[in-house]
């Protein structure tokens, strides 16, 4: 009996501790690299006094760990706000009925193309898909200027792309399908395969292979490319297809989670992330391009005003992605 009483007291203490709901808190899940997202989230905490509890993702799980966790937690959400490095993940959540619409007043001046029509997600600070090339192996003049140049004989076995089943590469390929049509896109991928393209494990792996000179060039994201330059790599960056279909622009996206415990705090955080100040910070830390006009950014960071973007509808491209996943799996694995 004495032991039973002790167990009951222990359980009551545990439950009391765990039920100590602190309203001055927000739980954020993010697939954005911790090295870049942590300072921003700390900034919010310092500015508002709201305690930010974060779950970050890892490269090893292709940054899909938190997304799968969000899906698994759907019935009893622990997370208030999800900050994604691309639109794909937030659109997956929207399609699974996990997001809560919110029209942030801070985002009024962001181009509607970067927002969900029903405000389930909103974009900010964008990355672009670029070509990174090794300056020792390639000169700017002879480097590919279009994604379609990658299938030329002179680049046989010298180009790397990340596994198209994951991350931003998937989105890049589905954007191509959206823009040039299924038949042409499949022909392009087939030609790319025949040209012995190297399939790397991630964009970071593409960066590394180009820096080490294992391949001459590869497709990656601007943040990886700028990181390579920061690390002292002898590499250059090219925004592809500026005379043609344009470069794919991928905004960060943020969404609220339906039925989450701290929705009001999440709205404050969403407003904070969508602000010009956050965009300025992300431009400095990881070369991301602000979606707002008139944000102060370092000189070496490109502006969206000077880049021809690929004209896509993010929602439709996500749908396309679902359609072509099986084809991409076949392409990548055989």
């Amino acid at each position: 009996m004495k032991n039973l009483s002790l167990i009951i007291v222990f359980l009551i203490v545990l439950i009391t501790i765990s039920c100590n709901n602190n309203s001055n808190v927000i739980v954020v899940y993010t697939s954005v690299d911790q090295i870049f997202s942590e300072p921003i989230l700390k900034g919010f905490e310092d500015e508002t006094g709201i305690l930010v509890k974060v779950v970050y993702d890892t490269e090893e799980t292709k940054s899909t760990g938190v997304l799968n966790r969000l899906i698994a937690e759907k019935e009893n959400p622990q997370c208030d706000l999800f900050w994604s490095g691309d639109p794909v993940r937030t659109i997956v959540l929207k399609n699974k009925g996990i997001t809560l619409p919110y029209q942030s007043p801070v985002a009024n001046y962001i181009d509607p193309v970067y927002k969900d029509p029903e405000y389930h997600w909103t974009g900010f600070s964008a990355r672009a898909r670029v070509l990174i090339y090794n300056k020792t192996l390639l000169e700017m003049a002879t480097a590919p200027q279009s994604i379609f140049d990658l299938v030329k004989e002179e680049f046989r076995g010298k180009v790397a792309i990340a596994n198209p089943l994951f991350g931003t590469t998937t989105f890049h390929i589905s954007a191509l399908f959206s823009v040039i049509g299924d038949e042409s896109a499949k022909q392009f991928l087939s030609d790319l395969k025949n040209n012995n393209v190297v399939i790397a494990t991630s964009n970071g792996d593409v960066k590394k292979r180009v820096m080490q000179g294992e391949v001459s060039c590869g497709l990656t994201d601007t943040d990886d490319a700028y990181e390579a330059m920061k690390e002292g790599g002898d590499v250059g960056i090219i925004f592809l297809d500026q005379q043609g279909i344009g470069s794919l622009i991928m905004p960060n996206t943020v969404c609220l989670i339906k039925d989450s415990p701290h929705t009001e705090n999440a709205k404050k955080m969403m407003d904070y992330l969508l602000s010009k100040e956050t965009e300025a910070k992300l431009a400095i830390s990881c070369a991301q391009m602000p979606l707002h006009k008139g944000v102060d950014i370092p000189e070496d960071i490109p502006s969206l005003d000077n880049i021809i973007p690929m004209k896509i509808d993010y929602d439709k491209t996500s749908q396309k992605l679902e359609e072509i996943q099986s084809y991409l799996k076949e392409w990548a694995e055989n």
Partner: protein, 524 residues
């Protein structure tokens, strides 16, 4: 529960707790995945010929790794635990190093090594590369298991053997049969670890069954198919253990194992040759990858190392505390699960406990993590889900099988007659455990604790799914910082994690040494 279980209340409590905290969540998720929305019939047709060919390939790879690891682990275990080879204390600790480090990090180091020194990574980015890297990682585990068994052999049996025959026949006819359970345990454990390993084949671009599961899970978000595919993996592991139990490990000759007169050491003639072998293995498994890690860490000075230390400092107390308590519980569960079977006390429940431990162990980490989320993420269970308890449950579910195997083998080597004699004298069961069994298996309990501690401290796959928001845990921090951080920072973090692990284990060793010595007849 039956009369026999009432006679073993601790076993009953541990069994019921394990079923409640670990098995029910898994069964709940599997049941939901299979039977909700007809997903079973929808997905079962996706299990085509290609799936089974891939599974066969994965089995061949895992089999190769298990054979190589057990083979090299036996040689290393014999040299370090049964001979007077030079520097054996140093090698005993240093050869464990690959176990302390995430397979993913070692894969990166190996790939860089091949690129830097051979300017070619095609060799390492292949099935051979996966086998090579995972063999170097899992051989220390085999060495520990087999070494522990070797040092538990009754010296009288060996001495008697030498009276009538030569060294070779003593090895073949006495030592190897006596350590057969350990050899099989080593094979089974390494096989299951290898077939469940995802990060190394994924990094080398080698398609195996776990990468296929991951693709279904993370690219297609088809959780049901991923779980169905995981069930195939579990089935293979269960069949493996079934074969072990039925045909080999429970063979009668093993039950005559006895221990009680200390460990016999051999004075080997070719000490130089043995030393060369140890040094070559040490170079391949430790020095080569570490040259790369050191080179990458300090190529730009010490600033990244200092930064890495600052980043990891807040994670130390959480991670060490969790791993410590996790390892304690795991050893307790492992002992409880191993005691009755090893003592041939047969009940249906004890048999099912073995299988349950194995099944949970064989489940891929991501699926196990999802199972725990789906079960515990309910308002009424928030006190478990939103704290560290969920991580401890995950550790216990994932690693108790290893602990049970290690401890079970040790108990089998203790003659039942010692316990029976004490029983005839009227000594109560707890006193018999405390005064007879525990002292005799103390070194193995320590090894089980250390192995569990290392695994808990480095666990990533489930922890990433479950760690409470806002908390900092060492492997999570390394891997979340890794994305887009400079290589020098990542390598520095790896070196720090390794150093901290080694330091703690050394500390444990010196703390436990007097206790182990007290109960042992040799100072091994």
């Amino acid at each position: 529960m039956g009369r026999k279980l009432k006679a073993h209340p601790v076993f009953t409590i541990v069994y019921v707790s394990f079923v409640f905290f670990v098995v029910i969540p898994v069964a709940y998720t599997l049941g939901t995945a299979f039977f909700d929305d007809n997903s079973l019939s929808g997905n079962i047709q996706l299990l085509n010929k290609g799936t089974f060919i891939l599974l066969a390939k994965s089995c061949i790879i895992a089999f190769s790794i298990a054979v190589f690891s057990t083979f090299f682990g036996t040689i290393l275990g014999f040299l370090l635990y049964k001979t007077n080879v030079l520097f054996r204390g140093f090698f005993k600790v240093s050869l464990l190093i690959p176990l302390f480090i995430s397979p993913y990090i070692l894969a990166v180091a190996w790939k860089d090594f091949f690129f830097i020194f051979f300017n070619n990574i095609s060799f390492i980015s292949s099935y051979i590369g996966v086998i090579l890297v995972l063999t170097t990682i899992f051989t220390p585990l085999s060495m520990l298991i087999i070494g522990s068994a070797l040092s538990n052999i009754n010296a009288q049996l060996e001495e008697t053997g030498f009276v009538i025959t030569n060294f070779r026949r003593v090895i073949l006819k006495i030592i190897l049969p006596l350590i057969k359970p350990a050899l099989i345990s080593s094979f089974v454990l390494v096989f299951i670890f290898s077939i469940s390993e995802f990060s190394v084949p994924a990094f080398f671009g080698v398609k195996v069954f776990t990468t296929e599961i991951f693709t279904q899970f993370s690219a297609f978000y088809n959780h049901s198919l991923a779980i169905l595919q995981s069930a195939l993996l579990i089935l293979i592991c269960v069949l493996l253990l079934f074969a072990e139990r039925k045909h080999i490990a429970d063979a009668p000759f093993l039950s005559i194992d006895s221990r009680g007169t200390g460990n016999k050491f051999y004075n080997i003639k070719n000490r130089d040759l043995s030393l060369i072998f140890l040094f070559v293995w040490f170079s391949i498994s430790v020095i080569l990858p570490f040259i790369i890690l050191f080179f990458q860490s300090f190529k730009d000075g010490t600033s990244k190392f200092i930064q890495a230390f600052g980043l990891l400092l807040p994670t130390f107390s959480n991670s060490i505390g969790l791993a410590f308590f996790g390892a304690l519980i795991i050893v307790f569960v492992g002992f409880s699960a191993a005691y009755l079977p090893a003592r041939k006390i047969e009940t249906k429940t004890r048999k099912s406990f073995d299988w349950l431990l194995l099944i949970v162990f064989a489940i891929p980490s991501t699926i196990f993590g999802i199972s725990l989320i789906k079960f515990y993420n309910h308002p009424v269970l928030d006190f478990i889900y939103s704290g560290y308890a969920i991580i401890l449950i995950a550790y216990v579910g994932k690693f108790s099988f290893i602990s049970a195997k290690l401890i079970g083998n040790a108990i089998r080597q203790i003659p039942a007659s010692l316990d029976e004699a004490a029983q005839i004298e009227g000594i109560k069961s707890f006193a018999r455990l405390q005064k007879i069994l525990m002292p005799l298996i103390m070194p193995t309990l320590f090894v089980a604790f250390i192995v569990s501690f290392i695994f808990c401290l480095g666990e990533l796959g489930i922890t990433i799914m479950l760690y409470p928001p806002g908390t900092e845990i060492m492997p999570i921090k390394v891997f979340t910082i890794m994305a887009n951080a400079p290589q020098s920072l990542t390598s520095s973090m790896t070196l720090i994690v390794f150093s901290v692990t080694l330091l703690i284990i050394t500390g444990f060793y010196f703390m436990a040494k007097p206790m182990i010595k007290k109960y042992r007849f040799t100072n091994d």
